[in-house]
């Protein structure tokens, strides 16, 4: 390689390395701020900002949804299978909202209740036909000796 090209190669390499390191450090520094959501365990451990709005992520606990009869108010419990959090929301919920569904709620803590202003459904990365799903459910059922079927989308709390 002739000297001119070698110099250019080194120069480009150095610039790339510098940009890479700068970005790496920025990403590390943002690790806290860029967290899109907190799980109920993290909230319980005091990692979530108090008095400020943040996002709560988790699974809607089975048999915990209570709808008010005269308004759009909904009460439900969000869990990461370790800790639970009571959530209150008034408004229209997305199609995928159901028991056992991963959701992301935006709002703030009022005492030990989480008052949500927005509820989004988080979809997991699993795609399969309904027949396969039924077969898996059946197999799980047999394995668990006829116990309650496991719920999908429980992967929110990494």
């Amino acid at each position: 390689m002739n000297p001119v090209r070698k110099r250019r190669l080194i120069l480009v390499g150095l610039v790339l390395a510098a940009v890479g390191i700068a970005t790496g450090l920025t990403v590390l520094a943002l690790q806290q701020n860029m967290t899109y959501l907190y799980s109920p365990s993290e909230v319980a451990a005091g990692h979530a900002p108090t008095g400020a709005r943040f996002r709560l992520g988790g699974v809607v606990l089975e048999h915990s949804i209570q709808r008010a009869s005269d308004s759009l108010k909904v009460d439900f419990i969000v869990t990461d299978r370790f800790k639970q959090m009571q959530v209150e929301y008034t408004g229209i919920l997305p199609d995928l909202f159901r028991e056992g569904q991963s959701i992301v709620a935006t709002g703030s803590l009022h005492g030990d209740r989480f008052i949500a202003t927005e509820v989004l459904a988080k979809h997991d990365e699993t795609y399969m036909p309904p027949e396969v799903r039924d077969a898996i459910e059946k197999a799980k059922h047999v394995e668990a000796g006829g116990g309650a079927p496991a719920t999908p989308g429980t992967d929110t709390a990494h």
């Binding site: 959501l37 992520g57 795609y127 399969m128 036909p129």
Partner: protein, 253 residues
Amino acid sequence: MNILTLWFHKLGSPPTFYRLAGLLLPWCYGIGLLLGLVALYSGLVLAPRDYQQGDAYRIIFVHVPAAWMSLFAYAFMAANAFIALVWHIKLSEILAMASAPVGAAFTFIALVTGALWGKPMWGTWWTWDARLTSELVLLFLYLGVIGLNAAIEDRRQAARAAGFLALIGVVNLPIVHFSVTWWNTLHQGSTIRLMGPSKIDAAMAWPLLLMALATHIWFFGSVLMRARIALLQLEGGKDWVRKVALDEGAAGG
């Protein structure tokens, strides 16, 4: 000089590339279109419904290949920009600048289809989570490269300046890819995985992979087409261009 470097030098010469690209081009477009149509039919009609999303999941057959292409096209552009910066090879400058608009189009498609899916499934068109934001930054990088390339008068200087921007933007690629594992995002993790089992049924996976293949082939067709035109513009007035113009003019009547 060994045979491989000789072959490489020949391929890098504009007349040879122009001729070879002209031969490859109809195949790229033909096979890409054919595979794309087969993949679209098998994805939208043959593949079974999803257990949770019903038919709405079928946007995956457009969204995921487009998102992969947005990353692949950027990597291809940056690799060519790197060669152009270090070795000042004319063809690499042209290939890098030719892939920018194609990659930008794929990024745009990925963002739009994602928003269309997000509204019914998540309940929102857009949210500032790490995956969505970094993909938007990727679109802006593409637009920056295209804009910088267009802003400078001298074609070769323009390509190298824009190529430098493209090369710096490479740091965004791992951020886009790993954003869903590094941070808690609303966007789900990768469904198709190179390491470990994929999280999609085989009946749904093959149309998706077929579509990914089709978009790659189409991408190369599109880049070759743009590169040929850019070569003619850059080399205009040279003997081989004059010859091409006379030959094709005579053939076209």
